[in-house]
């Protein structure tokens, strides 16, 4: 177990270096960011040159990358164009996005798995058909439509919620979290349903039923636990996607999180912001995947990590 974790942690290093290098190169391809700083006019050449020097943009890309990585290991992610250290941006952006992700994952787990169990156990019944249809609708409607619609209905028409997020507390993030989770929630429902329906016919379930175990115990202990493996895999990878992919939701609901910072960073070609945030997201993704792997062993006793 310990060795497995160690090996996985070591594997992260090349992935991390490769991913950051790719991002660094991609951001550089976008061109010289200084040109966008002076409004509808050319920056005067002296100031532009000095800004480039200050942000290290006059160096060759490989050296920029090395300097950047060296600094990252000392905890310095550089400075955004508005003079704010990127770490400061992260300190304000990540907590909000983490809260949003927690809300979204809670929705996925609680609502998604429950619906999956209900439909998986009642295949072909009206409940099953209704939920399947509903998930189909949710999957096919783009997030920004769901988001704007809920914002309009709940925020303006019925005045149940504030249409925009101010402080970013859990109470304000319920509707945005639901919007963010909606598509994944539908997938979780479908995954759970299929997996459950399949395992219901397996030998160990039949044995458990034959032993005379109460139905409740058969479902939760035997059936659900084994059926959750694909669902956990999905949710694990989804955490990374939710954190980085909240751009649309964050813009609609005025959440000053990771997605918003990334969007603004790309728009202003602020390489320091973009690379820094994506680097942290890569780490989150890797750790989430590791946790998922470890969870397998908990869920299925047959899986052992050497």
């Amino acid at each position: 177990m310990g060795r497995h974790v160690l090996r996985r942690l070591l594997q992260m290093i090349p992935v991390f270096v490769g991913a950051t290098l790719l991002i660094f190169l991609m951001v550089n391809v976008m061109g010289d960011p200084v040109a966008g700083l002076c409004g509808e006019r050319a920056c005067d050449p002296a100031t532009a040159a000095q800004l480039r020097r200050e942000f290290g943009l006059d160096q060759p890309v490989w050296r920029q990358y090395l300097t950047y990585m060296a600094k990252v290991f000392t905890g310095d992610f550089g400075t955004a164009f508005n003079g704010q250290p990127v770490t400061e941006l992260m300190a304000t952006a990540f907590p909000v996005t983490v809260r949003l992700t927690v809300v979204a994952v809670l929705f996925e787990v609680v609502v998604g798995v429950t619906l999956g169990v209900v439909t998986g156990l009642r295949r072909g019944r009206p409940v099953d058909t209704a939920v399947l249809l509903a998930t189909l609708v949710v999957i096919s409607v783009p997030t920004f439509v769901t988001g704007l619609l809920l914002q309009l209905l709940l925020g303006i028409k019925w005045q149940w919620i504030r249409p925009s997020v101010r402080a970013g507390g859990f109470d304000e993030l319920i509707v945005p979290g639901l919007v963010l989770a909606s598509v994944s929630l539908a997938y979780v429902t479908r995954l759970t349903r299929t997996s459950l329906a399949e395992n219901r016919r397996s030998d160990y379930v039949r044995t458990a039923v034959a032993k005379g175990l109460p139905r409740r115990r058969v479902v939760t202990r035997h059936l659900l636990r084994n059926s959750l493996i694909p669902v956990v895999t999905f949710i694990g990878t989804d955490i990374g996607a939710l954190m980085g992919g909240a751009i649309v939701t964050e813009r609609i609901f005025n959440i000053h999180g990771v997605g918003y910072q990334l969007y603004q960073g790309i728009l202003r070609q602020n390489s320091q912001t973009v690379v820094g945030f994506v680097t942290v997201l890569v780490l989150v993704f890797l750790v989430a995947n590791l946790l998922v792997d470890l969870l397998y062993a908990v869920l299925d006793p047959r899986i052992r990590h050497a």
Partner: protein, 541 residues
């Protein structure tokens, strides 16, 4: 925020239902009572130093916390003495500035001649990376302090001299009679000593001499500006304060305005323009601003600088149905342009309706003739380049192309060429990589006809992205700048503008308005000619 309690209580109820937890406390807008209004904002691109702020969001704040030698009348845009008692000159080159008594910064420090001279020296100094440094380019010694290349040879501008506490002199490196009228621009604001002695602290919480003081500032989220009770100026704030809230998207700000959670949204998204009048009625503002949109041309490309090409450009101008585009796409928030300035200048300031003449009238038949006479569109096809990341440029470029295609009877005569980001767009312009016309927008820095012509069409000027050059134009501008009589100076600038017209150096498209919407709590809301709300006049309740 009294009005929003209903909504908040409901939100709390919903929260309690869903999570069966969460204490619903706090999270108000800045935590301030009284006649405080909330206003939409976006994160300023640069630190909030006066000589480093070149966009409207940072400008909003500077307009509240600073007052300069001159101030542009929020209604007429005319420059009027503010901190200046007088600005005198005999030769349009050496100016003596006298300050009024009694002005202080909000930290108690007196505003003296030195407050200005130090601030301007800081702004011009290359070492400080100030993006508006070129504003000081007219002052003697600028090339020593801010050389285009090579080593900086001085730290202070030799043209600035403090005479006594309330007097200083400015010597320019060329005659420029309009110079005093440029001094209302934020870059010329005075700065307190604290700016230089503890710069980091100042940038975290700027201190100025305007009607508001910054009470709290959370970067990227919000700023609370409180009315400064001891403000010595005549334009005291009529409200208790302003909370600027950063919005990720102007659509969200608009939604918040409709829901009663925001008092003032000063950027109505294009998609909402068709609903705005039914949504807000009288509480929607649509007032002219000093912004002109044009199509500029790449004169570094031989195809566009050859003789006869001006006929093609004039033809293209006549092929654009401006009225139709401003009515259908912009819903009256733009007006068809008939000269190269802006109506906010007023007739005395140099705006001349119809100066463009027939060249700006929609006349597809004549357009076709002219383009043919001029040898046709270079390369057979027109590519209009623009940045697609802001300002709904795609819609109007497509419409302009459509209009040209219809006029020429050729479906493929004109296509749009979107560039992903503004920075990349600026890069391509700077690298002289255009082969056809490109979007050129101009928001005035100060309300002078000079500002609409010289930076855009003078040889080698900073916003002359198409590298247009004309000796006669340059000569007329030089003469206009040297002319001490304002009326004669304006007349000379208009003659220079006629040169621009005769060559159709850039196709004027439309004058842009500023728009805003506000809640029922507010009254006396107006936008100034820079499309910034006049915050100190707004009354709450």
């Amino acid at each position: 925020m009294r009005r929003s309690t209903h909504a908040r209580r409901a939100a709390c109820a919903a929260a309690a239902l869903a999570l069966a937890a969460t204490g619903c406390a706090g999270a108000g807008a800045g935590g301030n009572g009284g006649a405080v209004l909330s206003s939409s904002w976006a994160d300023p691109q640069n630190p909030l130093e006066p000589a480093n702020t070149n966009e409207v969001q940072g400008g909003k704040v500077l307009d509240m916390i600073f007052r300069g030698l001159k101030r542009y009348d929020p209604k007429t845009g005319k420059a009027r003495d503010f901190l200046a008692r007088s600005i005198e000159t005999r030769d349009s080159r050496t100016f003596t500035v006298r300050l009024k008594d009694g002005w202080i910064f909000s930290n108690g420090e007196k505003v003296t001649a030195r407050s200005f001279v130090d601030a301007w020296n800081y702004g011009a100094n290359l070492r400080n990376n100030q993006k508006n440094a070129y504003f000081f380019g007219y002052i003697d010694g600028y090339d020593e302090v801010h050389p285009d290349n090579g080593r900086q040879r001085a730290d202070t501008l030799s043209g600035l001299k403090v005479v006594d506490d309330h007097t200083f002199t400015v010597r320019l490196n060329q005659k420029f009679s309009g110079f005093p009228d440029t001094l209302g621009y934020a870059a010329f604001a005075p700065l307190p000593r604290a700016f230089f002695t503890d710069h980091a602290a100042w940038v975290r919480k700027p201190v100025g001499n305007g009607p508001y003081t910054i009470e709290s500032y959370t970067k990227g989220a919000q700023m609370y500006l409180k009315k400064w009770d001891r403000y010595p100026g005549p334009d005291k704030a009529r409200n208790d304060g302003v909370t600027l809230l950063v919005y990720t998207d102007s659509n969200t700000a608009y939604t918040d305005l409709l829901a009663g959670n925001l008092d003032l949204a000063d950027d109505i998204p294009a998609a909402q323009l068709k609903n705005v009048e039914s949504d807000l009625g009288e509480r929607y503002l649509n007032t002219p601003a000093g912004i002109l949109q044009t199509l500029a041309f790449p004169y570094y490309d031989k195809a566009w600088s050859r003789p006869g090409a001006e006929k093609v450009r004039t033809g293209l101008s006549m092929a654009i149905n401006r009225r139709q585009i401003t009515d259908t796409i912009f819903r009256g928030t733009r007006t068809p342009a008939t000269d190269w300035t802006s109506p906010v200048l007023g007739a005395a300031g140099g705006y001349k309706e119809g100066l463009c003449g027939r060249a700006c009238d929609y006349d597809p038949g004549r357009a076709r003739e002219l383009i043919e006479e001029g040898g046709g569109i270079p390369g057979g096809r027109l590519t209009v380049t623009y940045n697609a990341d802001s300002g709904s440029h795609r819609q109007w470029v497509d419409a302009v192309c459509n209009s040209i295609n219809n006029a020429l009877g050729d479906d493929r005569a004109c296509v749009g060429n979107p560039v992903g980001t503004f920075a990349d767009f600026r890069n391509q312009l700077g690298g002289h990589r255009m082969t056809g016309p490109f979007r050129a927008g101009w928001q005035m820095d100060y309300p002078l006809i000079q500002n609409f012509l010289q930076p855009l069409y003078y040889t080698g000027a900073s916003s002359n992205d198409g590298a247009w050059s004309d000796e006669e134009f340059d000569r007329l501008v030089d003469r206009a700048n040297a002319e001490t009589d304002p009326a004669r100076s304006v007349a000379l600038f208009q003659r220079a503008e006629e040169v621009v017209r005769d060559h159709m150096a850039a196709i004027p498209l439309w004058y842009q308005n500023g728009n805003a919407g506000y809640s029922e709590r507010l009254s006396h809301v107006a936008l100034n000619p820079f499309s910034v709300p006049v915050y100190n006049e707004i009354r709450v309740g």
